[in-house]
């Protein structure tokens, strides 16, 4: 392939030329399985509620399944050789989340679109359908990645702008600044930010990988990265701290920093960086604990939620009770604890604590199944990374996968009191448009990256780029 044809094309419709349908039997089979599970869940919920064979909110579940089916057939028509497991895995997680939303009190969410007001389940259905559209469209049209890799500083700037927007326009919720509101539109920027961050890191690390691996600055017994390369890393650490300080969004900070460290390890293979990063994390955590009440409170709740069971520790204690009530087999969908005197047993059960709701109604068995689904997504994502044609794609696929896997771990571990609770969503399951759409971006990009028939990546540029040449110590 000549250098000329390898250059990125800007024709957006190029993707749609010469399309030949290609059947996706594995995906279809798995989606049928997903349909069986979700219909069974809906019937079980209906049976519990009415004691008749009457699927609960059958329309919502069927609409969702139709959307998944359309997503599947769009992929078939597009004819790309992309991964066939990711869509069903995401579909089942989303469907389980949808069943939980059907089961919860619908007044928890009143989402107005135009003249109509949607309750919890309908709103979640709308977001899920939109998520399927986003993932499918990305999977079909993204054929080259130059728009991601070449403009990394543009992406970084966009990310920082998003962060600044949150600082300025953000509204406080439960002591943290998570949402921004612009007229009728509101959202959680940190969900989008995590995708942008991964794109930037993948581009930065792949370009500078040779230097990060080979060169180092000695500092006592440690081999540090070359000083100019240390700066972006320190910046990442500072960014995470900043998010804690300004937004008090511990979940996002933890997620970003963990993904950054793991990605740095994948790019360099150097455990020293991870150790240094962990040391920085410990120092940062200690500082945050000393300086910020919100961090101290979370840690204290984590250490002994029962001492404040009627106050700050209420949520955590109630979540543990929910796990306890579930036991091995769960209470069954719908048979978990109803509202007590009009109040939810666990506040924020539809977002931060949906994992506890799963534990109560589906039991240990259901929780293991959900954890297994995340591992399926992780396995597919990392497989795509390992098979990628170049470093950027490998790091991008790894980073996107990590975002989902680490986020699921952080919130599930918080629900289970393994780590202090940080308020982030359980990917694909929790209620919320920002979260669903951001995770749909992840799945869409992973699907696109999994296509082995896609354009070859551009030839590698001289390692390091401009910054590297400035510090080049005659290695070349």
């Amino acid at each position: 392939m000549s250098a000329a044809t390898a250059r990125p094309r800007s024709d957006p419709f190029a993707a749609l030329r010469g399309v030949k349908p290609r059947p996706r039997p594995r995906e279809l089979g798995l989606l049928v399985l997903v349909a069986v599970v979700l219909v069974a869940g809906s019937v079980s919920l209906g049976l519990y509620r009415t004691h008749r064979l009457d699927p609960a909110d059958g329309g919502v579940v069927v609409s969702y399944l139709i959307a998944l089916g359309i997503g599947h057939f769009a992929q078939v028509l597009a004819g790309r050789r992309t991964d066939q497991v990711l869509l069903p895995a995401m579909g089942l997680l989303g469907g389980i989340g949808l069943l939980v939303m059907i089961r919860l009190p619908q007044e928890l969410v009143q989402q107005s679109f135009g003249g109509t007001t949607l309750g919890l389940a309908q709103a979640q259905l709308a977001w899920l359908v939109l998520a399927i559209v986003v993932a499918s469209v990305l999977a079909i049209i993204v054929r080259n990645d130059s728009w991601l890799r070449l403009y990394k500083y543009t992406w970084a700037a966009a990310g920082i702008a998003l962060l600044l927007a949150t600082f300025v326009l953000g509204r406080d919720r439960n002591g943290a600044t998570l949402d921004i509101h612009l007229g009728p539109i509101s959202g959680q920027p940190s969900e989008l930010l995590k995708v942008i961050l991964v794109v930037f890191l993948a581009a930065y690390l792949s370009e500078n990988r040779p230097l990060l691996v080979e060169q180092y600055t000695r500092l006592g017994p440690f081999r540090l990265p070359p000083l100019p390369y240390l700066i972006p890393m320190v910046a990442m650490w500072a960014l995470a701290l900043l998010i804690v300080v300004v937004q008090r969004d511990l979940g996002a900070a933890l997620l970003f920093f963990a993904v950054f460290l793991l990605l740095l390890y994948v790019a360099t293979g150097r455990a020293t960086y991870v150790v240094l990063g962990l040391a920085a994390f410990v120092v940062g955590s200690f500082l945050a604990y000393k300086l910020f009440g919100v961090v101290r409170e979370r840690v204290d709740i984590w250490l002994d939620p029962w001492s404040v069971a009627q106050g700050a520790g209420y949520q955590v204690v109630q979540a543990l009770y929910a796990f306890g009530r579930g036991g091995i087999l769960g209470t069954g969908l719908g048979a978990g604890l109803p509202t007590i005197g009009g109040n939810l047993p666990i506040p924020e059960v539809n977002t931060d604590f949906v994992f506890a709701a799963l534990g109560e109604e589906l039991g240990l068995v259901g929780v293991l199944a959900v954890l297994g689904l995340y591992l399926v997504i992780v396995e597919r994502g990392l497989r795509i990374a390992a098979a990628a044609a170049d470093d950027f794609r490998a790091l991008l696929a790894t980073g996107l996968t990590l975002v989902v896997g680490v986020q699921a771990f952080v919130i599930a571990a918080g629900n289970l009191k393994l780590i202090p609770l940080t308020g982030i969503t359980l990917p694909f399951v929790s209620y919320g448009g920002s979260s669903l759409l951001a995770n749909a971006l992840v799945v869409g990009l992973l699907l696109a990256l999994s296509d082995r028939g896609v354009e070859a990546p551009p030839p590698p540029r001289p390692p390091g780029g401009r910054l590297a040449r400035l510090v080049d110590r005659g290695a070349r």
């Binding site: 204690v317 796990f323 306890g324 990374a385 393994l418």
Partner: protein, 500 residues
């Protein structure tokens, strides 16, 4: 330097490692989930503030609570609106049973056994797991207690208008026979929706704090009854023998004992006439100087170790929540957490920072009575589910706190303290007529000008004891004034009329 030349070094291995880290993290999640959903499921589901229990309380007719002879202590009534509510046999039970109210939640045994009484949890974990497949998820159990209602009523009546507590138990089984706490309150009035609000308001305003179950939650300076703990520690460790005398003791009775420049004075048994007392005599006349010297000889660490064996230092595992008794506030750096020898010397005869619950002191008496083997205290002896299946809770040994010969030495001394000429001067009225009785009084000085707390611990009969007792009467005066005669009457009533 490696020639990168457009070729990428494989990332696959690093990706695989990161994948393994994630798998490991998820295995930890699965383990954590298993911990809460399997291992901790039962205790979590029985927690009194679990909303499942609160939900159950609205739907379920609670199981009854019965005494050792099947007398009903707590049952249910229905009001005009069809709502069931609790009715209690007698106010003397208020400390033990607590209350169950839709408005004010639960307390006492009603709280501790809420899960079993509402039937959200039974004695059978497998049945509990399969419960959800049945029409009603609740299977309330009746509780059978070791408590004797007439004995409980008698103990409460004898405390009268005084504040205080009585704990009686069978030393060979740990079964609680009576556990009175005064003032009492009318739990039925709190449970009845018609009277609940007024009764609750009155209760909250009562300066006597009737909601405090003094038998298990009240912390008192023990005074001389604590000497039995010091005796068990000192004899058990060999710090003293039964024949040990302290030559400086007789003079110190009048001049005071100087410990680190601080004077410990006794002098309330002048008729011992300058005699250096041995162990048995020191118990008989309750000699503070003797036990101060014993404590100093024993050392703080030895006293602390034995006290811990007896249950001090942590809440006693029991069917009701208990306060932790202590021998010191801790933090000091002579052994056992004592500040200095002055504190240790004073603690050894039950003053300084020693604080005890009546249940703790009853267990000390029971340990001596039972030859050094301490049984786990138990109130609930059986659960009966709706199908009539009875699940018995058997007595359990808790700890062997001293060797049998040490227990026998202390037992003999406590017998002398009740039965001998000297003893009966200090301990009038504790004797059960016709039955050898053992015991020890306590007069706990509280500082200030108020009357001291009156204490007694003891047991009977001396051979094969059937009952051990601890009595405390707040501001009741000397141990012989109130507590000892009450204990005598209660042990007599139990042994002569109830125990057959």
């Amino acid at each position: 330097m490696t020639d990168w030349g457009g070729q990428r070094a494989p990332l696959g291995r690093n990706v695989l490692r990161v994948g393994l880290v994630l798998v490991l993290a998820f295995v930890v999640l699965a383990g954590g989930d298993g911990y809460w959903q399997v291992m901790q499921a039962q205790p979590l589901s029985a927690a009194p503030d679990n909303p499942a229990i609160i939900a159950a309380a609205r739907q379920v007719v609670r199981g009854r609570i019965l005494d050792r002879d099947g007398k009903v202590l707590a049952s249910n009534a229905i009001d005009a609106a069809g709502q069931t509510y609790r009715v209690y046999a007698d106010p003397s039970l208020s400390g033990v049973l607590g209350y169950a109210s839709l408005l004010y939640g639960t307390a006492g045994l009603e709280r501790a056994f809420d899960a079993q009484l509402t039937g959200i949890r039974s004695a059978d974990p497998v049945a509990d797991m399969l419960r959800k497949f049945q029409a009603s998820p609740y299977d309330p159990s009746d509780l059978t207690l070791s408590l004797s209602l007439p004995l409980q009523e008698r103990a409460t009546a004898l405390l009268g208008k005084d504040r205080g507590a009585v704990v009686m138990l069978d030393p060979s089984t740990g079964h609680i026979l009576a556990m009175a706490s005064t003032p009492t309150f009318d739990a039925s009035a709190i449970a009845d929706p018609a009277t609940a609000k007024a009764a609750w308001a009155a209760l909250q305003a009562d300066p006597g704090k009737p909601l405090l179950d003094r038998a298990v939650q009240g912390l008192y300076v023990p005074g001389s009854v604590f000497k039995i703990v010091t005796a068990l520690a000192a004899l058990g460790s060999g710090a003293i023998a039964p024949s040990t005398t302290f030559p400086q003791q007789p003079a110190a009775e009048t001049n005071g004992l100087i410990v680190s420049g601080y004077k410990v004075v006794d002098g309330h048994h002048p008729f011992t006439d300058g005699e250096a007392l041995d162990f048995v005599h020191a118990v008989e006349v309750s000699c503070n100087i003797y036990f101060a010297l014993t404590g100093l000889k024993l050392g703080g660490a030895g006293l602390s170790a034995e006290a811990e064996q007896l249950g001090f230092g942590a809440p006693i595992p029991f069917d009701l929540p208990t306060a932790a008794s202590q021998i010191t506030n801790g933090g000091g750096n002579i052994g056992g957490g004592f500040k200095d020898d002055v504190e240790l010397a004073n603690a050894a005869y039950g003053q300084a920072e020693v604080l005890v619950t009546p249940l703790q002191m009853a267990l000390v008496a029971a340990a001596v009575a039972n030859g050094g083997q301490l049984m786990r205290p138990e109130l609930v002896t059986g659960l009966t589910d709706r199908s009539g299946t009875v699940h018995r809770i058997d007595p359990q040994s808790w700890r062997d706190v001293v060797a049998p010969d040490v227990a026998d030495t202390v037992k003999a001394a406590m017998e002398q303290a009740v039965e001998s000429e000297w003893g009966s001067y200090f301990t009038p009225g504790a004797k059960v007529p016709g039955i050898p009785t053992a015991g020890k009084t306590g007069t706990a000085q509280l500082g200030g000008s108020g009357e001291p707390n009156s204490w007694f611990i003891g047991f009977a009969p001396v051979d094969q004891p059937k009952v051990a007792i601890a009595v405390v009467v707040e501001h009741g005066g000397g141990g012989g004034a109130r507590a000892a005669p009450m204990a005598g009457q209660l042990m007599t009533y139990y042994l002569k009329e109830l125990a057959q």
